[in-house]
Subunit: 412 residues, 2 copies
Amino acid sequence: MAYLNENYFKLKAGYLFPEIARRVATFTSDNKEAAARLIRCGIGDVTEALPAAARTAMKAAVDELGDRTTFRGYGPEQGYSFLREALANEVYAPLGCDIAHDEIFISDGSKCDTGNILDIFGPKNRIAITDPVYPVYVDTNVMCGHTGEADDTGSYGGLVYLPCLPSNGFVPALPLEKVDLIYLCYPNNPTGATATYEQLSAWVHFARENQAIILFDAAYEAYITEPGVPRSIFEIEGARDCAIEFRSFSKHGGFTGVRCAYTVVPKDLMASSADGKRHRVHPLWSRRQSTKFNGVSYPVQRAAQALFSPEGKKEVADLITHYLGNATLLREACLAVDLQVFGGVNAPYIWVKCPDGVKSWDMFDRFLHEANVVITPGAGFGAAGEGYFRISAFNSRANAEETARRIRSMKW
Amino acid sequence: MAYLNENYFKLKAGYLFPEIARRVATFTSDNKEAAARLIRCGIGDVTEALPAAARTAMKAAVDELGDRTTFRGYGPEQGYSFLREALANEVYAPLGCDIAHDEIFISDGSKCDTGNILDIFGPKNRIAITDPVYPVYVDTNVMCGHTGEADDTGSYGGLVYLPCLPSNGFVPALPLEKVDLIYLCYPNNPTGATATYEQLSAWVHFARENQAIILFDAAYEAYITEPGVPRSIFEIEGARDCAIEFRSFSKHGGFTGVRCAYTVVPKDLMASSADGKRHRVHPLWSRRQSTKFNGVSYPVQRAAQALFSPEGKKEVADLITHYLGNATLLREACLAVDLQVFGGVNAPYIWVKCPDGVKSWDMFDRFLHEANVVITPGAGFGAAGEGYFRISAFNSRANAEETARRIRSMKW
């Protein structure tokens, strides 16, 4: 008799974004006029054209596949050297981070990697997760049995939640109890907050003291506009001993539909077996990828490489400027109606406090019905997200302007 | 203190193909002349140009991404309807299989899917694996703790091995003990064998009787040339209740570097929770994919769809004819030197018995040193593969002809 993984039964009704899609579909099928007016600021999905540099490189790579003398079949499961070296040289070297190309693993998405990384860690780890948080961190821990059941607020037993609130600038205090794996994401999704060098240094110090590992999601690094904000956990001294970093081209080069990301596992990073012996983590992740992954599509890796050409860099910068311009418009609209607003400066997300007493899914429904705008309810990101909502700046300028107008004209 | 998944320490020294790559690299770095003569018939990687239909569609999709009005970001995690529907209509309907488009999940590789599928099954399952077998099935079960340690032959405690030998035509007898998940692959990798309707029907009957699930890998279906050979497990009555099928464009359309595959999970398929209750498997796989995967690159999905256009079908047929032509040459060469040969008729692999008493890694080294040809040692596929080797027909015609010549001129 085949048995299921019963941890799946602990999962709440739907992964956040499918649940949003369901509500939107129900609303728009009942209301064609509103459907035509609908503006999506929910899921953080890019909207603008893929950079020409990436398209040209991708098409050239497709042409290479059309000639048997330049054809490429299976690539290295860890990614092609041309891309790993580009990242070491163009991303990490300029930050002064000592990251070798073979510490960089190319994948088809940070969502996949942040889930799959749990494959190489054992069941005994105590997991610390910021709250609110990108739901994938929580759900993948539920799926592999690191949690108990969820309570009414959606919080799971067994996880150590680290509340992120205005009072701590959305950077959590160090936990009082011991934890083993710690998820941090800065610039933060969903709050748009950043962490300072001092704050990250404190976390690195804590991780080293406790032989814990920080799983650092830097997917939104490209949106940092202010000086003095760390762009990588590896800018922090000692992080090579205690951190894995996840990055993606999704929000950097508009690759959400193209699929390419990367994960850095330093060779210095160690973790324990049950007998307390220390082992390198790098060979386990490499083995995991060799066995359960077959590398990223060759034309896609060429497209990613092209983002570091002079033309590519210019186009990426233009994309970021565009989305951050939207963020400014949306921030200002929320401020104009006296909402309390966070983020949107070094991140493509605006995190907004609901008017007193309003719940975040109710706010979602109000935005959908009154303004025909899709936002993301804060509660979907965790219990501490209740009473907040997220607006995504990924949109056309016209849609951002229209959304800003509708926010100003809603009844507050 | 972060803890590792110690199951990884049970894995043997290297996943088969990296180990082959290591030996080849050592040999060729010592011997430049032989390196220049080297012919690779080891890993089953395609060599011929990607079909023009796929390239044209892929480039057109890249162009779509270059215009914001036709841009696509995140696609459905389960795949675009255009491709799921093409597969239901072009692959399953002609076989008389009742498979709905939303039972077909698009992914970036069957290797990934056959590993990832274990995510949704619990730790209590008893696993049956043919021997020899594609190593990924074994290694992914080791990684998630379904096995004990390996013995000297590389067999893991806790797995139920089903020996596949000439005496049973490489289709295993039904197990005498109860098993819960059963891996079958036909046309078979590595033996090139096929199973008959009667044989698969017996397995489906067994699975239904035991509420077991068959994980059926049909990655080589396109190579079936003989009439009366089943192309899908779903051609067998009752299979919708007890089987998941994995398929890929890798060997079908030459997509090993492009990355696209699909997995069929029928909505009728049920499995148990520990309390004996029965649950549908489909929602769990859908949830797994929604949470841990972000869909296949849009241009790649368009390329896959194009393989079902009239031009695409013609090009795929030509590719298969080409590789099977190589298989014939290689088969005949082995037969000419009085080796015992299997496969190569409905599959791109030839499975050859080593001369009496010769071990398969020794045969690998002999081929490498004497003929400068890379083959795959049978023992890399499991204990029952000892004393055999696999030759891949994925090559240029010139290389296949030269390999055939070298086989004839080796000392046997």
